[in-house]
């Protein structure tokens, strides 16, 4: 790997740390290459978050050898006094299936620092792994009482509620997310779909419109708008249902004629010609 390549790889890894994307297969593969080609030692202090990132990805794909190598490297700089490093050792135990020992590690972190968010979240993850969804939801609710602006936690709670078909509670989580990030079109989209599932078509329609306002020609929202509008055509309370219905179909046909394949466009045209 040339020097130019390794800089690009390091940048790519950093972008995943920023967006928090779960691209474990790619990160583990890139990380393994960087290590094999000895490209990490020259990075100085920048290397430690990278080792942590590769270790977590390695846990995710089950490459314990790679993970152990990263942890060994980190151990030359940190020890269990660093709660962040300690959490990583807990995650290693989780990856090895030693859930009881992992629990003990997180408990001890929280004994030292009861506000430690990393350990709190791992505890919640352990509940999930042990199929204790009720306890997970309770722990998350308690966590969110303090950290009400942690959108990742609201998303996790929403996901748990949805898995139990508790749509009203899931909707509440979405409402909190919308308060935190009112410009995030994905949260509006999620709320629209939950409202649709609850058969609240007027509110779903409004939310789909909001998505399209924030993100032009968003295909998922266009399909949703088309569906909602069709369900409200007979309703006297919703003005413009017919217009929105026609608009959604028109925009979809436009998007597909520009970017869709022949086969999918054919199906979509048939689909849109049905009410």
């Amino acid at each position: 790997m040339s020097r130019l390549d390794s800089a690009a790889v390091v940048e790519e890894l950093q972008s995943y740390r920023l967006t928090n994307e779960r691209k474990s297969e790619r990160v583990a593969a890139l990380g393994a290459r960087l290590i094999r080609e000895k490209q990490l030692s020259k990075l100085g202090e920048q290397v430690w978050p990278i080792y942590e990132q590769i270790a977590v990805a390695a846990f995710d794909v089950g490459d314990l050898e790679l993970a152990n190598h990263c942890i060994a490297q980190l151990r030359t700089r940190f020890n269990e006094k660093s709660l962040r490093f300690k959490r990583l050792t807990g995650m290693k135990l989780e990856a090895e299936g030693k859930l009881g020992q992992a629990q003990a590690v997180y408990d001890s972190i929280l004994e030292q620092d009861e506000t430690n968010m990393l350990a709190s979240k791992r505890q919640i993850a352990l509940f999930k792994e042990r199929r204790k969804d009720q306890e997970a939801m309770e722990a998350l609710t308690k966590y969110l009482d303090t950290y009400y602006d942690d959108h990742e936690a609201w998303l996790e709670l929403c996901h748990l509620y949805l898995s139990k078909h508790a749509y009203e509670q899931a909707a509440f989580c979405c409402e909190e997310l919308l308060l935190l990030q009112p410009g995030n079109h994905i949260f509006h989209l999620k709320y629209a779909e939950i409202m649709f599932t609850l058969h609240n078509y007027p509110l779903a329609l409004k939310q789909y419109c909001k998505v399209l306002e924030l993100c032009k020609d968003h295909v998922r929202a266009l399909y949703g708008l088309d569906l909602c509008a069709s369900k409200l055509l007979e309703s006297k309370d919703t003005e413009y249902a017919q217009d929105l219905h026609a608009l959604a179909k028109e925009r979809l046909l436009d998007v597909y004629s520009a970017k869709g394949t022949n086969d999918t466009s054919k199906v979509v045209q048939t689909y849109l010609s049905m009410v």
């Binding site: 199929r131 898995s163 649709f196 599932t197 569906l227 999918t264 049905m274």
Partner: protein, 198 residues
């Protein structure tokens, strides 16, 4: 008289590969095939979702479009597949039952494939990673003997299980396209996942 189910490599592979691509999520989709009085041939599958699987609007859209695609290709929707979030959960969840109730209205012999990923790693080269469920006497029942010699479930190609296992070495699962993927980029063909050669 028991109905025979014949499963093609593609119909076996797609649910497993879809589950592998999104290994930490629930994934699901429909099964396509042909039906006559004695036999159901499960020919292929169309992957639907890897997130928001409890929500309904895109499910309505996907089902209608899958139906249109099936008709255009002389096939029918003959079942549903799902890989649950936890890999040792091989039960049929409510969402799967709801969708298959609709499918059963037209095809009473409809089948549900549940992916059992614990088997994908197994040293037994012939062990199937798909556990089929059939509706009989008012309940969905797992056919645990499926794909063994005595069973009414068989492969159209004898080496299907090792063949599909072999696909993992090239990370072929990354070539699966589902409806969720398609909605983010409509140039991706979710009906046929054309890059995926089985």
């Amino acid at each position: 008289m028991s109905i025979q189910y014949k499963v093609s490599p593609r119909a076996y592979a797609l649910p497993i590969l879809h589950a592998a691509k999104y290994s930490s999520s629930t994934v699901c989709g429909v099964l396509l095939g042909k039906v006559d009085a004695q036999e159901v041939e499960v020919v292929s599958a169309i992957p639907f979702f890897h997130h928001w699987t409890a929500l309904t609007p895109m499910l309505e859209t996907a089902l209608q479009q899958a139906e249109i695609y099936a008709t255009l290709n002389d096939l029918k929707i003959v079942g549903w597949y799902q890989a649950n979030e936890h890999d040792d959960d091989v039960t049929v969840h409510d969402n799967a039952i709801k969708v298959t109730d609709l499918i059963r209205q037209r095809i009473p012999q409809a089948v549900i494939f549940i992916v059992d990923d614990r088997k994908t790693d197994s040293s037994d080269k012939k062990e199937s990673s798909i556990l089929p469920y059939i509706f009989s006497e008012n309940q969905w029942r797992a056919n645990k003997l499926a794909f063994t010699k005595e069973s009414n479930f068989g492969f159209t190609y004898e080496e299907t299980v090792p063949k599909v296992r072999g696909l993992f070495s090239t990370s072929a699962y990354n070539k699966v396209v589902d409806f969720d993927d398609h909605l983010e980029d409509v140039s991706l063909d979710w009906f046929t996942s054309p890059e995926l050669k089985i």
